[in-house]
Symmetry: C2
Subunit: 305 residues, 2 copies
């Protein structure tokens, strides 16, 4: 099974208590693709500038990720600069340059059209919707967003949510989008906007899957995060979670409760690996055996009997 | 098996988004005792004032809690006033009156001397140590503390920690006591001060048990908290967690890894029930069947296969 993902492929300058990296390859679609590529075929839709060369392309190729949907435009790639000096759970943004993303018109290669899974990574909801409309036949659509779109582009985002099966956001985003400080009530409100499945990511505390607004407990599942001795760089952890979660789902025949639960664990595994090095450094060196090893650690971490 | 607990029996005035209660029965030893009483015999050491009458006594008696160690002194009981209006995870203290606690000299009734388990609830570490020294033959000692003692009474607290098998504190306290922002490193530092077992409570995100500083993963266990639709009053949730955790341990023959894991779940169960009503209102109406029902919900919430 193949996932098509649309989102940013970008350069990030990052400062954390562990150090600093300038202009390393990043972007939500990059992290998502790398993480999902351990589970299924992945096809990317994005736009990059002239600063994106063969070396960066190779990061995707090495994981067999289809890059035919990455458009090369004149100018510079999307750039983000941020730090996590006070709080590893929340980035402080110092600079965002949309660059080639400012005029991006997503085009879907014919070779992507048989994708059964679509992931709308965190970008302008107008672009998310355009991609969604060009792929009407996908079996399952998941997506991400952030407070900027929730607060300042709500009508466009609400249109996207209507077409989503699954939404993956963090605590703060869920409380703002669901307009309630209580996470369970916020989750119910968010699901009433469209997505049947809602994954709320709690950073170092794991993530909760909500499914079905009526009975609050029977459709709730919580996956832990691994307590990490060293968090080097949390950038991309949420996108990597989404890649592990949705990638595992795409690798399975049916969306059973067991598949959803294991998907939550694989999401947590990929998110935890992403934090161990700067940028994509850890993900590109990962093996499926290591992923399954940590999956088993996670199981052990919460297993009761 | 019986637990002796020393700590505050107090009156609390509490304001939360759900409303306000004036001078309801509270205190760490009260919440701990009520929660633990569903699992084993509980004996309380505390001091109360003339405002503690038969009605309050009956709250303990109804759960078969031994109150012979509750000293009645002239004056008023310990009083705390606080609110959770902005953040349900952290109380804002408006007023603390030590009252009869200011001159408290803990005395242990002869009838308590065969207790095999001792819990030193959050009080002045000088008092914790005095009780510990009067009960040299207990099998297992657990305790709690708070930032005030960690910051301003560190030498006395360090003495207490040397005599503790288990310490239960929250994220912030662990980071301050362990002098590290990273929870795993902070946990290792805290354990080097004495306790072999460290439970770090994450409020609505559950709790993590650390055991053994060497191998960071094999001795870590994480129990979830139930996502609650309505948190009425978080006062006493941590003490109720401790009561469920330590009470369950005291009810078992051996301290096996399985017992520790189930104890973490019972702690989470009691903490979640405590939040559902003001003060001790929910705990006093609880049944063991309801406790086990929620225990099973928790198991389901994180069960993988």
């Amino acid at each position: 099974m193949a996932i098509t993902v649309v989102g940013s492929v970008a350069y990030d300058s990052i400062e954390t208590p562990a150090g600093r990296r300038d202009r390393c390859l990043g972007g939500a679609a990059t992290y998502f693709s790398l993480a999902a590529s351990f589970f299924c075929d992945v096809r990317v839709i994005a736009v990059v500038g002239e600063d994106f060369g063969p070396e960066q392309e190779q990061v995707f190729k090495a994981r067999n990720i289809d890059t035919r949907g990455i458009e090369h435009a004149a100018g510079k790639s999307f750039f983000w600069e941020g730090s996590y000096l006070e709080n590893l759970n929340e980035a402080r943004t110092h600079n965002t340059e949309l660059n080639v993303f400012a005029t991006f018109e997503p085009k879907i290669p014919a070779a992507y059209s048989d994708s059964q899974f679509l992931f709308l990574a965190n970008i302008d909801p107008v672009l998310q919707r355009r991609v969604r409309e060009q792929m009407p036949d996908v079996k399952l659509v998941a997506g991400d967003t952030m407070n900027y779109w929730i607060n300042d582009h709500r009508p466009a985002l609400l249109e996207v949510l209507k077409g989503l099966d699954m939404l993956l956001i963090n605590d703060t985003e869920a409380r703002v989008l669901g307009d309630n400080k209580n996470l369970v009530k916020a989750a119910q409100n968010v699901m009433s906007l469209g997505p049947r499945f809602l994954v709320i990511k709690h950073g170092e505390y794991g993530a909760t899957l909500f499914h079905g607004a009526k009975d609050k407990h029977s459709h709730t599942f919580r996956a832990p995060a691994l307590p990490l001795e060293e968090v080097v760089d949390p950038t991309g952890a949420g996108d990597s979670f989404a890649g592990g979660f949705f990638g595992y789902i795409a690798s399975q025949v049916e969306l059973t409760p067991g598949v959803l639960r294991r998907a939550m664990f694989y999401g947590s595994v990929m998110g935890s690996y992403a934090c161990e090095c700067f940028g994509t450094e850890r993900l590109v060196q990962l093996s499926r055996a290591q992923i399954d090893e940590r999956f088993n650690q996670f199981r052990e971490l919460t297993h009761l009997d």
